[in-house]
Amino acid sequence: MTSCEYQQIDPQALPTPTPAPPPHHGNDRDKREEPKRPRRKWQVFPGKNRFYCDGRIMVARQSGVLPLTLGLIVITSGLFFIFDCPFLVKHLTSCIPVIGGGLFVFVVITLLQTSLTDPGILPRATPDEAADIEKQIDNTGNASYRPPPRTKEVLINQQVVKLKYCFSCKMFRPPRTSHCSLCDNCVERFDHHCPWVGNCVGKRNYRFFYTFIVSLSFLTAFIFGCVTTHLALRAQGGKGLVFALQESPGRYPFNHKRVLKFLSVFSLISPSSNVPMLSLTQPPTAVELVICFFSVWSILGLSGFHTYLVASNLTTNEDIKGSWSGKSGEGVTNPYSHKNIFINCCSVLCGPMPPSLIDRRGFLPTDESVQTAGAGIELPPLAAKSEINVEVKCLDFAVSCTG
């Protein structure tokens, strides 16, 4: 089999046109193929994702609480712009809506990018690859039943790392890759599946996610600060609560001592402050205050945690499992870290952007050789199987009949 001779193949060969297969010779499959439009790969994607805009946008099947996240952000910011900004513009500075607007736009864009981007999904192994891997594993043991978890050990920067076999995707997972059960995909550099964002956070969208939570912390803190200032200024507007009730926006005279006014916010901490009562008179402001108060701590905490992860080039998954914390033995260090905080940050956040590997808008080959989920079919020895497409088979058949 290996000693057959080959003719020299000329790449600039005769330009043979490929005519359409003659209909009367076509078998059923061919007839079915002809009127069908070529399908795109996203239409047969095996994972649990949903695609929109002809494959341009993808989300996880369960969008989680993404609508809630978006709703909270939009509503809080909307209330801020409508009810607080006019007052603050008159009494402080007109930069406030500008800064707020910029932050808001930033937050929404990065949120949408985190949710709608491919996080680094690895396409599943083709049947040939899966068969090849099975063959290699078979050499070491029997595969008549589902054996114990298959692992492979590799040495990465002098550190032993175990690669696990993924039964869904039929391949050994590369380092730092994990299979997300919610999305049913292997994701590279898997961080976590974020329900707030409705998507996995992985290699390709981690920087979007990080930018989102950092800018959201700024936005929340900013709105919280502005709202507090607003209430404080109203309380100081003269005779306290009664005056605030009667006061209509715009009547408070402009005072050039803006800084003094801003600093007077700190009078809130005085026991005689009327803030709780005052906030009840401004329901929208009260809503914003409550939302921001509860979110600012959690989001700031999350940003701090992820800043630590970025600086040490860790993922949430690794941190939770304690892969590199030395619990499992001495001398276990993170093999992916560059041992320098600045370089770690730059490589995670400013590194080159890898492309999407799943090619969701690509067209399927017409022989419909698609990867199906969990097909579990091992290919027979490939001697008899060819990968030519159906049209060519028909062409050959037609030509052989006439020739």
């Binding site: 000693s3 083709t126 992916y336």
Partner: protein
């Protein structure tokens, strides 16, 4: 006896696929894309060792260039961050440019080196950058009773 010439398309059409050989990833340097330089034993009689090793080495160097963390990638990253990453929708990243170069290189290698030997390289990006797939073909005209195509001559190759 007419000698036919096959281009890459006809290689797929007139030859039958025997097997596929996979060159796996080399993770010894981390998660950067790098293929093992181990020569698969199935290709022993089909191609010279040095040719395949050269191809793999060149591919590895292309991937190193794509994933290099340096001045240009930082600039790209910072600019992208400042614009809320909208530039990624408009601009082709450096990685994508290098992938195009790799695609061209694989095509060229196929035409010059692999197709004449009845082999075909598949661009790793089509396999999720997991493996370098080498398809091994056998000329269908060899020894088969019914000529599958008028393009392959009867006595094209001996088995």
């Amino acid at each position: 006896m007419a000698t036919e010439f096959h281009n890459l398309q006809e290689l797929r059409h007139s030859a039958s696929l025997v097997t596929k050989v996979f060159v796996q990833r080399d993770y010894s340097e981390g998660t950067v894309c790098r293929f093992q330089n181990k020569f698969p034993s199935e290709l022993d009689n089909r191609i010279e060792r040095t040719l395949l090793e050269e191809t793999v080495k060149t591919l590895n160097s292309y991937y190193v260039e794509a994933e290099k963390i340096g001045g240009q990638s930082y600039l790209e990253g910072c600019l992208a961050c400042a614009t809320a990453y909208i530039v990624f929708l408009c601009m082709e990243t450096r990685y994508e440019k290098v992938l195009k170069k790799i695609s061209g290189y694989v095509q060229e290698q196929n035409e010059k080196i692999y197709a004449p030997r009845g082999l075909l390289l598949t661009d790793p990006v089509e396999r999720g950058m997991r493996v370098l797939e080498i398809s091994v073909f056998e000329d269908r005209g060899s020894g088969s009773s019914s000529p599958s195509s008028s393009m392959s001559s009867a006595g094209s190759s001996a088995r």
